[in-house]
């Protein structure tokens, strides 16, 4: 934990109302300002107590505080360093250790994740019957079962998708772990939209995890290994721009420079799908979609990458589409990578809060640019017993509009 | 042993015996804060009860003091120091509020209306009285930025200062607003001033019934043409109310026209002059005068409800929920009970002939009375300043 970075905090408190756990619990120690204070205590010689570790673990890493901070405090760096320190210096209880081991051996590996889909393929009824029992054994397992969406049909993506019309660019595409396993249709839509906008899309089949989950959970070594592999994969594929449609992956890949060194990372430019589409501008015709859309700001898009305007602009440009804002849009939905698995109670409270505000918009469709958010909000809406609100990715909405479909979600 | 009279004269302040038949024994005419302090010290030594008074326009308000040895007239406290560049004025308590409505050579004013016409600065603070423009500018407490007060033992204290923005220490000025001379004698006040509006227009609307009143008042008050006042005048049972709004500033004509549009079909006109009843109290001098406080949106309903009591003339700041009412003495008991018990509004009987107030709690229930009593005990432990004039023996 870098004392210089800790010293940048002037204790103004502007981060407080943006912090999901402060919003939930109203305690200083569960705010960014309080956590930085705890980091300062630890750096100043206070041993890392279980209480301290608990407050660090409770941080979602949503980075809303980074956006809000007028002093430019790098909380993102600080919490990353802190998580690594927690993993080094703090011994967790057995059950917690087992769970974390399971998560980190499962999620960063697309093939293992795909294999897990089968046992999670429960009917609604089975899910309900099983839930209380799972809740008793482990709230985290219950959360995992609850989150899992119906398993979609497998979509096989080609290695290369040709541009429609004149080719304007050649880009690589990241398929992602969770995205690839649970939302292959989003990847398909992404590839089609890019192609229709004149891009040749290169999709290396042997992609692994980008390293985001490990990095955000205090496992920098695993993160470095995965990042190095991802970078090499795209270099071999011969692209210099990689389009990412999952916010968490994009924000991590944009920071490969910090992780692997600027020299190692400079050959590949990472862009978010919305960011890229806004940058190259539209060429394909948009067909009308008469639908009211609530756009959800994924933390790793809005806060970590500063991308708020582009997805809204892309959606608003679809004829007939009405865009509505969700109250408290900058507060995290509670998904936050593996947070909903490791801190299920807090995640559930945040999910409920978000679901309530999403439903209050009266929108027909919720659009989110991150698979974790989609799972999280989807399950929170189901939990409320409200009529399910369909959730789609920006790519799917654009895909539908470009192809003139009624809907594709 | 010096007599109290000799001791009072010994301060050098003009002091004379009161006219035969008056309640006080002596009347003093101090001209400076130091003289007030000297009088208060002598009064403390001789256990004299002191009642401060300005022009005397509101001396009959509140309970009659239980005792009064010395009437302290502030008429000679008349200094004035105007700082036009800072938009502030420092004045002595004896000056009429009306003298602060204009200053030579510069278009500034104290934006505080005095419905009594001749009231002094000290009396206005002590009774917290205000007129129509309270809606925009607030009352004396909102315009007061500094105060000098002489306590019962002769201590001279100031709080606030000469600058509008100031949060150092407790705001004693606010505490003294509405104190009815029971905490100390205010000798000087500093007010913030406002630029005088270049133009003024009054919009009068005559709704056909009380039922239309609340909607009308709410619409005028919420207008983005920003009226400075929204007043109502109701001559009593059987008659229709008149609502008048004041628009001041630049483009007042254009804004007044916008306000008139909100009349909702009721007869309305824009005038350059205030209606005759503007910024005046209803009823006759020497008669009953009550102050009502109610939610602004319930003014119309309240007037409808009190109709049953008998003829009551009501006037005041509808949009602020502060009304003056002048019921005839025989109607007073029913009126008080209707407002307090049936409507849940606050009502204070400011002035009433002695026989009319018999058996009526003049001030009504005051939630913070125990705290006020504790403040009084600290400021005036011997109960020598206007004793008993306020509620609960304060």
């Amino acid at each position: 934990m870098d004392p210089e970075l800790i010293g940048d905090c002037v204790h103004c408190g502007f981060c407080l109302p943006t912090c999901p756990t402060y919003v939930l619990w109203g305690e200083e120690m569960d705010s960014p300002r309080g956590r930085i204070h705890l980091m300062g205590q630890h750096v100043g010689g206070t041993p890392l107590t279980p209480e301290m570790a608990g407050h660090f673990d409770a941080c979602l890493g949503c980075m809303a505080c980074v956006t809000a901070c007028p002093s430019g405090v790098r909380y993102d760096r600080l919490i990353e360093q802190t998580r690594a320190e927690v993993e080094r210096a703090h011994r967790r209880p057995l059950q917690e250790r087992a769970l974390r081991a399971l998560v980190f051996r499962l999620f960063p590996y697309p093939r293992r994740l795909r294999a897990m889909r089968l046992p999670l393929r429960l009917t609604e009824g089975a899910r309900r019957r099983l839930a209380p029992r799972l809740e008793r054994i482990s709230p985290s397992l219950a959360a995992m079962a609850e989150l899992a969406p119906p398993v979609p049909a497998r979509v096989r993506l080609p290695r290369r998708v040709r541009a429609v019309g004149r080719r304007r660019a050649t880009v690589g595409m990241l398929t992602g772990c969770v995205q690839g396993a649970f939302f292959p249709q989003v990847n398909a839509a992404t590839a089609r939209v890019l192609a229709m906008e004149g891009c040749e899309v290169v999709i290396p089949p042997a992609q692994g995890c980008c390293g985001a989950l490990s990095l955000h959970s205090g496992l920098p070594e695993q993160a470095v290994r995965l990042a190095e592999r991802t970078l090499a994969t795209f270099e071999r594929a011969g692209v210099d721009t990689v389009v990412v449609n999952a916010a968490g992956c994009g924000s991590t890949m944009k920071e490969y420079g910090d992780l692997l060194g600027e020299d190692r990372a400079q050959n590949i430019r990472v862009v978010d799908l919305s960011e890229y589409l806004a940058e190259i501008g539209p060429v394909a015709t948009r067909h009308p979609l008469p639908v009211t859309v609530a756009y959800h700001d994924a933390c790793h898009l809005a806060h970590a990458q500063g991308i708020r305007a582009q997805p809204r602009a892309l959606l608003s440009a679809v004829p007939g589409l009405r865009l509505v804002e969700i109250a408290e849009s900058s507060i995290c939905c509670g998904s936050a990578g593996t947070y909903n698995l490791l801190q299920p109670e807090a995640a559930r409270d945040l999910g409920d809060r978000k679901a309530e505000r999403v439903l209050a918009t009266g929108a027909d469709l919720l659009v989110s640019a991150n698979p974790g958010c989609t799972l999280q909000i989807g399950s929170a809406v189901r939990r409320r017993g409200a009529g399910p609100i369909p959730v789609a990715h920006v790519a799917q909405v654009l895909d539908a509009s470009l192809r003139g479909l009624d809907r594709a979600w | 042993m010096e007599t109290p009279f000799e001791a009072l004269r010994g301060t050098g302040v003009p002091v004379e015996p009161a006219a035969p038949g008056d309640a006080p024994r002596w009347v003093a005419y101090p001209g400076t804060t130091a003289e007030v302090a000297a009088l208060m010290r002598v009064s403390a030594e001789h256990d004299l009860a002191v009642v401060p008074s300005g022009a005397g326009t509101k001396l009959a308000w509140g309970n009659p003091p239980e005792r009064c040895d010395l009437l302290l007239r502030t008429g000679r406290l008349t200094s004035l120091e105007h700082s036009p560049g800072d938009l502030v004025v420092r004045v002595s308590a004896g000056l009429p509020v009306g003298t602060l409505a204009s200053f030579p050579g510069v278009a500034q004013e104290l934006a505080l209306d005095d419905p009594l016409g001749a009231g002094t600065v000290g009396g206005t603070l002590a009774t917290a009285v205000a007129g129509p423009r309270r809606f925009r500018y607030g009352t004396a407490r909102d315009l007061l930025i500094g105060v000098t007060v002489v306590l019962a033992d002769g201590t001279v204290a100031t709080s606030g200062g000469r600058v509008v923005k100031n949060v150092a220490g407790y705001d004693l000025g606010k505490l003294l607003c509405g104190s009815y001379g029971t905490l100390g004698v205010v000798t000087e006040a500093v007010f913030r001033l406002h630029p005088v509006a270049p133009e003024r227009r009054w919009i009068t609307v005559e709704p056909d019934s009380l039922a239309a009143l609340d909607g009308l008042v709410a619409a005028l008050a919420a207008s983005q043409a920003e009226p400075s006042a929204v007043e109502v005048d109701w001559p009593g049972t059987g008659s229709a109310p008149v609502v008048a709004a004041l628009v001041e500033g630049t483009a007042a004509g254009e804004r007044a026209a916008a306000v008139r549009e909100l009349a909702g079909g009721h007869p309305a006109r824009v005038r350059d002059e205030a209606p005759g009843w503007w910024n005046t109290l209803p009823g006759d001098p020497g008669g009953v005068l009550c102050e009502l406080r109610l939610p602004p949106a319930e003014v119309g309903r309240t007037l409808r409800e009190v109709t049953a009591c008998g003829p009551v003339r009501v006037r005041g700041s509808a949009a602020s929920g502060v009304l003056w009412a002048a019921p005839p003495p025989d109607v007073l008991p029913a009126f008080v009970s209707a407002v307090r018990d049936r409507l849940g509004g606050r009502l204070v009987v400011l002035a009433a002939p002695y026989d009319a107030i018999e058996g009526i709690d003049r001030w009504g229930p005051v939630g913070a009375l125990p705290l006020m009593r504790r403040v009084k005990e600290r400021f005036d432990p011997d109960r020598r300043l206007s004793p008993g004039r306020f509620a609960g023996g304060i």
Binding site: D8, V10, H11, C12, G13, F14, P17, G26, E27, E28, G34, T49, C69, P70, S71 | S83, P84, G85, D86, A107, G138, A157, T158, G161, R162, V163, V164, K165, N166, V167, A168, G169, Y170, D171, L172, K174, L175, L176, Y180, A218, A222, Q224, E226, G249, T250, A251, E254, A258, E291, P295, W363, V366, G367, A368, L369, P370, L371, V375, E377, R378
Partner: protein, 485 residues
């Protein structure tokens, strides 16, 4: 380690609140050791997080019974150390009391709990065309309870006034644990007005009724760049002298502009020695007329560039630099002191020249950000805390600036409050008698001196015997640490 005198109170708090709302772990307690002013730090004896007014009253009754001091804290953003805890006391944090209880548009008021943020009130009524007028720079985080304690202002208080002008009623817990309502409709002493701005020394606010203000029809924001602060100051005087009362007039000098550029890239006109932000609001025809006047006045006084923001996005861009200024100086200086003083507006040029002289004499840079319309200065005194003696010199410069304010008939604080930080300056502004008279109010509310003791007033004073109860000499008096009053 918690004071053992707190053992019994803590047991009672656990009964009242349950374990999730009572903090005794020393590591956790330390995160509450300071508010927005970090150079005073004290770890509280215990932190409690009540959720209802009744719980606050019960907590205070426990404190009163055991003679334990208590300090209220909202969001902890104060800049005078007003919420600095006591090791031997209880910190009552209102951050879980954040419900908006009711909104009554026909009567233009809202009733909220003290932990609700200032901005949340506006957000709750914005769509209906209303807002809550006082707007301290920390409005998205600061709590309304804290605003009440400090009588917070903001950039727009030039026209709209302070918290005290917008609070219609309060529910408070008195230092003996009673729930009392103070209302603007109460006849008699304006206790409501006296309580607002009393910095937590008269009790704890548990409910606030605020006035809602109708949104103005038109808002125009103008950014004017001048060669120097003097010409900007002349323009301010001419605007006010011209009978215009803008919603806000803010000024920043070259150093403050440099900091803001470094932090938020606000792109203010290049080469400006001072920028003036003038915001006009009100009925459209009036704003249009005044805007023309202000523009003319700025040009006549040497403004070399004028920018007009007509829509909310452009307005936000103009305000961005100003609102970030405090935190932004961190980019140009390792450490700094935010000062808050007031001078009569006409004394501004002289005082600014004096500040420059003092700054030069001590080799300490001072960046100036101020509410020019009401003479409220926020000098940012910059120093390097690694340089030996620099902190002391900065402290000296900062104190000299307050002296200047008092010498010119101003105030030692316009909006940040006295707190722990400026209590020693109170004697420069007020006489012994003035302070003793204020102390009478304190003694009426809090004869035992348990509510936020040690704040606002320079020396701890005791209230003598509470009426009816006779006690022995107070230990603080015997040891010469306090004087009987």
């Amino acid at each position: 380690m918690p004071d053992t005198a707190l053992d019994e109170p803590v047991r009672r708090f656990l009964e009242i609140l349950g374990p999730g709302s009572v903090i005794t772990d020393p590591v956790r307690l330390r995160t509450y050791e300071c508010d927005g002013l970090t150079h005073h730090r004290t770890s509280p004896g215990v932190v409690v997080l009540p959720e209802t007014a009744e719980q606050v009253a019960a907590i205070v009754r426990v404190c009163a019974r055991h003679g334990v001091p208590f300090v209220a804290r909202g969001a902890g953003t104060g800049l005078s150390g007003g919420a600095l805890p006591r090791t031997d006391g209880v910190l009552v944090v209102t951050s879980r009391m954040r419900r908006i209880l009711s909104i009554d548009l026909p009567n233009r008021l809202a009733v909220v709990e003290p932990g609700v943020t200032n901005l949340a009130i506006t957000e709750a009524v914005r769509e209906q065309g209303y807002y809550y007028a006082p707007d301290p720079s920390s409005q998205q985080v600061c709590s309304i309870g804290g605003n009440v304690a400090e009588n917070s202002g903001g950039a727009h208080c030039l026209k709209y006034g302070f918290t005290v002008n917008h609070v219609l009623a309060l529910e408070i817990v008195t230092p003996d644990g009673d729930l009392v309502e103070l209302s603007h409709t109460d006849p008699g002493y304006d206790l409501l007005g006296a309580f607002v701005g009393s910095e937590g020394t008269l009790g704890i606010t548990t409910k606030v009724t605020v006035r809602l203000t109708r949104a103005p029809q038109a808002v125009t924001t103008l950014l004017a760049a001048f060669d120097d602060v003097e010409s900007g100051g002349r323009a301010v005087s001419a605007i006010i002298g011209g009978g215009i009362l803008p919603a806000a007039i803010e000024m920043m000098d070259a150093l403050a502009i440099e900091a803001a550029e470094a932090a938020v890239a606000c792109s203010y006109p290049e080469g400006a020695g001072a920028v003036l932000i003038v915001e006009l609001d009100g009925p459209s025809p009036e704003v249009a007329h005044q805007f023309a006047e202000v523009r003319r006045i700025c040009e006549e006084n040497g403004a070399f560039e004028l920018r007009v923001a007509a829509d909310p996005a452009e307005r936000a861009a103009v305000w961005k630099g100003r609102k970030s200024a405090f935190a932004a100086v961190g980019r140009i200086s390792p450490a700094y002191i935010v000062q808050d003083g007031v001078v009569p507006r006409t004394a501004l040029p002289e005082v600014l020249a004096d500040i420059e002289r003092i700054s030069g004499e001590h080799g300490i840079r001072v960046a100036n950000v101020f509410h020019a319309g009401d003479g409220n200065l926020h000098p940012l005194v910059l120093f390097d805390d690694d340089e030996p003696g620099a902190a002391e010199r900065a402290e000296l410069v900062s104190g000299r600036i307050l002296d200047l304010c008092v010498e010119h008939g101003g105030s030692i604080t316009g909006e940040h409050g006295v707190g722990i930080d400026k209590s020693r300056y109170m004697t420069k502004m007020f006489s012994e008698d003035d302070l003793a008279t204020m102390q009478l109010v304190r003694c009426a509310f809090d004869p035992e001196g348990l509510s936020n003791p040690g704040k606002v007033f320079p020396t701890p004073r005791l209230c003598g015997e509470a009426p009816g109860v006779r006690r022995g000499a107070h230990p603080l008096v015997e040891s010469g640490q306090a004087e009987q009053f």
